[in-house]
């Protein structure tokens, strides 16, 4: 930026245009892909939300105006499922954001031996296919025969009914979710790897101890990556689906405790085959998530530090 400011105006303008042109060239794969593969389905789903499209009667599709949107207010499961989603999000968000940082710090520690093996093993659960993972957790969390409760039993504690109690199902889902932290920890680790060593050396010269170095060098330097994890976790929580779906065959049991918003959407669309209302639910979810995301992006300028001095 400094360099361009010192140049004379016409030259700067030309450079600017040239830079813009390069920008568009590099951006073009996404722009083309967006129009070829993404824009059309998104638009189609928006149109569906104004129709009574039943998946098994595609030829009988009719426009119904805002009827599906009115239905949103009449459908008791909308508030139930939003509440379930919100409850779970509040419970798991702090863990999903803090734990990867802790784990990455541990696995980046210069005192640690066996790094390659440890990092691989900590990532490994993420590679386990989800169907097989759900089986594993059903085996581990079963009230009667699960390893966890058998372990509690050895200590003389009678463990809870993790998967069939409307209360314990949430901690159970959080525990299962711990296995999905592989990506977040790896990204954080990659972020830590890029912090220039000089910064640490400078901090050391200034007499900063381990915690201070972490707080004042590592954290700000990896804040872009934390921001990424935060946004992705939130989007992921709003779209939380696969694990409760396979665990409870998409039923939402026990009670309505696993009736996450996305399960309600999925059931409406693929069990009740009501693609019209299903699309409406999807768009409600879209608007809520987008609003939260925008707020977070607006907040980023106060706590995310970009070494390149740029954001927009």
């Amino acid at each position: 930026m400094m360099a361009t400011a010192e140049m004379n105006k016409p030259q700067a303008g030309r450079l600017m245009r040239q830079q813009q042109r390069w920008g568009w060239i590099f951006l073009s794969p996404w722009i083309i892909g967006f129009f070829a593969f993404t824009a059309l389905p998104i638009l189609a789903s928006l149109i569906f939300s104004f129709t009574d499209f039943a998946l098994n009667k595609p030829e009988e599709i009719e426009f119904v105006g805002f009827q599906n949107y009115v239905q949103l207010f009449k459908d008791p499961l909308v508030s139930v499922s939003l509440w379930v989603t919100l409850k779970f999000a509040l419970l798991s968000l702090p863990i999903a954001v803090a734990l990867p940082i802790a784990l990455a710090s541990l696995l980046n520690s210069k005192h640690l031996r066996g790094k390659r093996v440890l990092r691989t093993l900590f990532y490994m659960p993420y590679i386990v296919p989800v169907v097989s993972a759900v089986y594993i957790w059903q085996g581990v969390l079963n009230t009667e025969t699960g390893w966890l409760n058998r372990l509690f039993g050895l200590l003389g504690i009678s463990g809870p009914d993790w998967l069939n109690s409307v209360v314990w199902i949430y901690p159970a889902l959080v525990i299962i979710g711990l296995w999905g932290l592989g990506n977040a920890y790896l990204i954080t680790l990659a972020g830590m790897q890029s912090v220039p060593t000089e910064y640490y050396e400078a901090a050391r010269v200034d007499g900063a101890n381990g915690w201070h170095r972490f707080r004042h060098v590592t954290l700000p330097m990896i804040s872009p990556v934390i921001f990424y994890n935060l946004i992705l976790t939130i989007i992921g929580l709003f779209r939380y689906f696969e694990i409760p779906f396979i665990l409870k065959q998409g039923t939402g049991y026990p009670g309505s405790s696993t009736m996450f918003f996305n399960i309600h959407f999925y059931k409406t669309t693929f069990v009740f085959l009501d693609m019209g209302y299903g699309s409406t639910l999807a768009w409600l979810l879209f608007l809520i998530t987008l609003a939260v995301t925008l707020v977070l992006f607006a907040s980023a300028r106060y706590w995310v530090y970009y070494a390149s001095g740029d954001s927009s």
Partner: protein
């Protein structure tokens, strides 16, 4: 240099050296021990997967409240029947006997050492007896999984889909992220929000229109819908790479620019060399995603088992009426071998020292 310094210290005064050495050793030992303890807890369910893959159905059922490892009861072949051996208490001591006829209040047993003798009647409840068992893992599960779903074929399909998609995603996402991180494109914040917005809508809502589109252009029943879109960047990776690129100081770019490097040169010789950890991370994410993606590969390869990837194949053992958890786990483990090895190898890129961190002085 370091060696000479320690040598000097060594001659002058030994105790601080050993003190530091000891402190260092303690820190290493404690940190490593702590990490392995956490790992033990974290991977406890994984050991469940591992032992399940070495059991057969009967062993899984027996293990529900019994032994965790794959164990078989020791049995006796007696007049064409297979009898299980139990530890039976008698006043004169515990004997190992084979259970011949079960009853609620008394059961009869055969002595394996003297099977021709009269059956021994024991009063008491046989369910309270401890069975005699031995360790006998079922290695055959892996062969059954391998043969059951044409593993080499599925492995090849998955690798092909994953690797071609990987090339596409790396090329396109790096370029797009570079554009977002470094170029003054008008309306960039809005474009970026559009990009993020594309990952907010649930995939399933776009499934029907997407499928209809690919079906209209005749791509259903081929790998194209699973590969080609990756050449046009996806929001997850673009966002991640952009965050990382923004974290890189601009001084190096500008130095290269003053040396006359064009944008492409800067990307290749300045940005990418500084970004190996995140690029490798993106590559790994894509591989794992492609490895485990299920529903879309299923519907796009429907009726063509010869082009299906591994995730679809594994599901074969998840059938409704007669589930085979041990085969599911064995298949899953086999399927994981390649990604885990790749991950282990990729560690090289996360080791400080390989990364070019700062301006060379």
């Amino acid at each position: 240099m370091a060696a000479t310094r320690t040598a000097v210290q060594n001659t002058v005064n030994t105790s601080p050296y050993y003190g530091r050495q000891l402190k260092q050793f303690t820190a290493v030992a404690l940190t490593t021990l702590f990490a392995f303890m956490i790992l033990g807890v974290y991977l406890m369910p994984f050991s469940y997967m591992l032992v399940t893959s070495f059991k057969d159905k009967a062993q899984i059922i027996a293990g529900a409240k019994g032994p965790i490892l794959p164990m078989d009861p020791i049995t006796l072949n007696y007049q064409g029947e297979v009898l299980e051996v139990f530890k039976v208490p008698f006043p004169e001591g515990v004997r190992q006997l084979a259970l011949l006829k079960k009853g609620r209040s008394e059961s009869s047993f055969v002595d394996p050492e003297n099977p021709d003798a009269e059956p021994i009647v024991w009063e008491g409840r046989w369910r309270t007896l401890e069975p005699v068992i031995q360790f006998s893992p079922r290695y055959g599960n892996f062969k059954a999984a391998w043969d059951g779903i044409n593993f080499p074929r599925l492995l090849f399909n998955t690798t092909f889909i994953a690797v071609t998609g990987l090339i596409g995603t790396l090329l396109s996402c790096i370029a797009v992220a570079y554009a977002f991180a470094r170029f003054p494109i008008p309306g960039k914040p809005i474009l970026f929000m559009v990009l993020i917005a594309t990952i907010i809508l649930p995939r399933q809502v776009m499934l029907v229109p997407t499928f209809a589109f690919f079906s209209a252009i005749g791509w259903v029943g081929t790998w194209l819908p699973l590969i080609v879109p990756h050449f046009f960047a996806n929001a997850y990776n673009v966002f991640l790479l952009r965050q990382y690129f923004l974290q890189l100081p601009r001084e190096l770019d500008e130095a290269a620019m003053i040396d006359g490097a064009g944008p492409l040169r800067i990307l290749l010789s300045v940005i990418i060399p500084q970004s190996w950890p995140v690029i490798v991370a993106v590559a790994l994410f894509h591989l794992v995603f492609a490895w485990n993606d299920y529903f879309e590969p299923l519907i796009y390869t429907l009726g063509k088992p010869e082009i299906q990837p591994i995730a679809v194949g594994i599901q074969q053992f998840n059938f409704r009426f007669n589930q085979q958890p041990h085969l599911i786990q064995a298949t899953a483990l086999l399927g994981m071998v390649l990604p885990v090895i790749l991950f282990f190898m990729a560690q090289r890129f996360f080791m400080r020292g390989v990364v070019v961190t700062g301006v060379e002085k």
